[in-house]
């Protein structure tokens, strides 16, 4: 009997025991990043910078050189690698929203301002997943988390951060977009954005940034299916999808 291969692990993905919850968006992103690394022939040239928390679990599933040190420092580590190896390696981070835009906001904004030739991918799941569902900078108004038990109140907790829009207005940024992982159509669109962001780094244009909406069913206390629906109906009105910046300085 002839068997046709219809699915296998992407070349740069490791079959690591699942540390992610059912319905979690990080698994989709891990696969997507591995596929894009393969399609763009980047796996052998990459040093990946892992984030803290659940995003760190993704690091273990990528079959590329990787490193990590502390919560929030991803873009700074990436800067050191890129400069130390004289611009040769392909360097990207995968960080959560707390990592990238709360504790690491300074590192992110300033790496963008310096126009570092690196790519930062930020997963936005509107809460701190690993630590048990506390408020994140991306938590929506009214959203209940363990540190906003009555819902996020702007008077007390401030407003959600729109990272892709924020990073887009920094001069050193050449690409900034927001995608989602809640359905196949959007995964395909996000893949295109990922490729565009990676290409900007390869072209030496400057800093590229991609924010991705990812589900966190466990801490949202929803089923995986409800979670994907919640992204579409509740998150997307606050976090619109699309490209916010795509420029070329080189002619």
């Amino acid at each position: 009997m002839n068997k046709e291969k219809v699915y296998s692990l992407p070349k740069y993905r490791i079959a690591y025991p699942g540390l992610l919850c059912p319905g979690c968006g990080h698994g989709i992103m891990a696969n997507l990043m591995a596929i894009v690394l393969e399609e763009m022939d980047l796996g052998e040239k990459t040093v990946h910078v892992g984030g803290m928390g659940c995003t760190g679990y993704v690091t273990f599933t990528l079959k590329v050189d990787s490193t990590s040190v502390t919560h929030g420092t991803g873009p700074a580590i990436a800067t050191g690698i890129k400069r130390g190896l004289n611009g040769k390696p392909f360097v990207f981070t995968y960080q959560g929203d707390g990592d990238a835009i709360a504790i690491g906001a300074g590192a992110l904004v300033n790496a963008a301002a310096r126009g570092e030739k690196i790519t930062v991918i930020m997963a936005n799941n509107a809460n701190y997943g690993t630590t048990g569902g506390q408020m994140a900078p991306t938590t929506l108004i009214g959203q209940k988390t363990t540190t906003t038990p009555l819902g996020r109140d702007p008077e007390l907790h401030g407003y959600p951060q729109r990272a892709a829009e924020l990073i887009a207005q920094i001069e050193g940024t050449c690409y900034s977009a927001r995608g989602s992982t809640h359905n196949p159509a959007n995964v395909t669109k996000t893949k295109k954005m990922l490729k565009a962001a990676f290409q900007k780094q390869l072209d030496g244009e400057g800093f590229s940034f991609l924010e991705v909406l990812t589900a966190c069913p466990t801490d949202w206390k929803k089923t995986p299916a409800e979670s994907q629906k919640w992204i579409e109906e509740v998150m997307m009105p606050v976090y619109p999808l699309g490209e916010f910046k795509n420029i070329s300085r080189k002619k």
Binding site: T46, G56, F60, T67, T70, A76, V109
Partner: protein, 354 residues
């Protein structure tokens, strides 16, 4: 014989780094080490290296981690508050066993403190930040030693995959002396088989992780214990007229220069005074101090420009076998930040004790 120039200690950091083949600097301006940052900013691009001014010492330490983790020699320098900001990442270096060289040109603390000399980071440097780890800590007392110790810090840092810290102070950093620029050869180093240099189709992937996910926690701790014990063999000190001394001064950094004068002045007056100067603050030369303390009638006077930090290590070495006295920041000749512990004041204390 290398080229001889006139340089200050802060510039000597730069000469030491490039002599060790380090072409990457990540830094953030802070007094009293600004000449270090400025030296690298002007000199590295000429040599094909890179200079990056980060937005905080925290980020700078992370940049150093990225670069060193990629197997490329890099350095940073800072002082008091910046040193504090770096601590979280430095603990990460220790956990991930990534080498790295950091120069701390100490200023007066705590807090923002002064922008002038002091020795208030001794305990912080020798004890380390959160989590409990050990770093090689070197204490130069001249411009030449800054240049040489920066090179030694690279060597020891890579030999043991720990941090190499050069702990100087504003006086050593800002004073100028003749400097011989010379590459020091300390011997071969193991290949960096852990560095994240990209796979390039030649080898399996490498992961540098600052947490206990790859191996069990206690296994990792046991390995650290073994490594830290082995590092004890790197103890270095300078003993000046210690053998027959009835009073041994113990000092590092600028006060050790002061104490060298004190030994001469005291000997001229027939007083048996010596100086034991640790060159490595960690590992600490405890054994030689313990041995000396066992001699009958010996006393120790620790001279350090703080409220008493190294004295803890001297007491631990001496273990009550001899009296240990302290002369610190309150013995400065002026009440301001520019006051110094001067030889006459130390001699006065010596005469009280002997």
């Amino acid at each position: 014989m290398g080229e001889r120039i006139w340089a200050n200690g802060n510039q000597a950091v730069g000469w030491g780094a490039v002599s060790a083949g380090c072409l990457h600097f990540f830094g953030y301006p802070i007094t009293p080490q600004n000449e270090v940052t400025e030296w690298f900013a002007s000199e590295l691009p000429k040599r094909g290296g890179s200079f990056c001014q980060g937005e905080s010492e925290w980020s700078v330490a992370a940049m150093l981690f990225g670069c060193s983790g990629a197997g490329v020699r890099a350095i940073t320098s800072t002082s008091g508050p910046g040193w504090g900001l770096m601590q979280e990442v430095l603990s990460g270096f220790a956990a991930a066993e990534v080498p790295g060289v950091i120069v701390n040109i100490q200023r007066g603390g705590p807090g923002q403190g002064t922008t002038l000399h002091a020795q208030t980071d001794y305990l912080s440097a020798t004890r380390g930040g959160h989590g409990g780890y050990k770093s090689i800590v070197l204490a130069p007392n001249s411009v030449q030693e800054i240049c040489d110790f920066v090179q030694l810090a690279f060597y020891l840092s890579e030999k043991y995959r720990v941090l190499g810290i050069v702990l100087a102070d504003a006086i050593i950093g800002q004073m100028a002396e003749p400097l011989e620029i010379k590459t020091r050869d300390f011997g071969p180093l193991p290949e960096k088989t852990w560095a994240t240099t990209t796979m390039q189709g030649k080898r399996p992937l490498r992961q540098i992780m600052p947490g206990w996910v790859i191996k069990p926690y206690v296994t990792g701790m046991a390995e650290f214990q073994k490594k830290y014990e082995k590092m004890q063999s790197e103890v270095k000190y300078e003993a000046i007229q210690v053998d027959d001394a009835e009073l041994v001064l113990v000092a590092f950094g600028y006060p050790s220069r002061v104490c060298m004068d004190v030994v001469e002045m005291a000997r001229e007056e027939g007083l048996k005074v010596g100086l034991l100067r640790p060159l490595t603050l960690w590992p600490f030369p405890a054994e030689v101090l313990h041995k000396k303390a066992s001699q009958k009638g010996v006393k120790f006077l620790v001279v350090e420009d703080n409220l008493g930090q190294m004295i803890d290590d001297v007491n631990l070495a001496v273990l009550g076998k001899a009296p240990v006295h302290h002369l610190g920041v309150t013995a400065r000749h002026l009440p301001t930040g520019s006051g110094m512990i001067l030889p006459a004041r130390v001699l006065e204390e010596v005469k009280k004790l002997i």
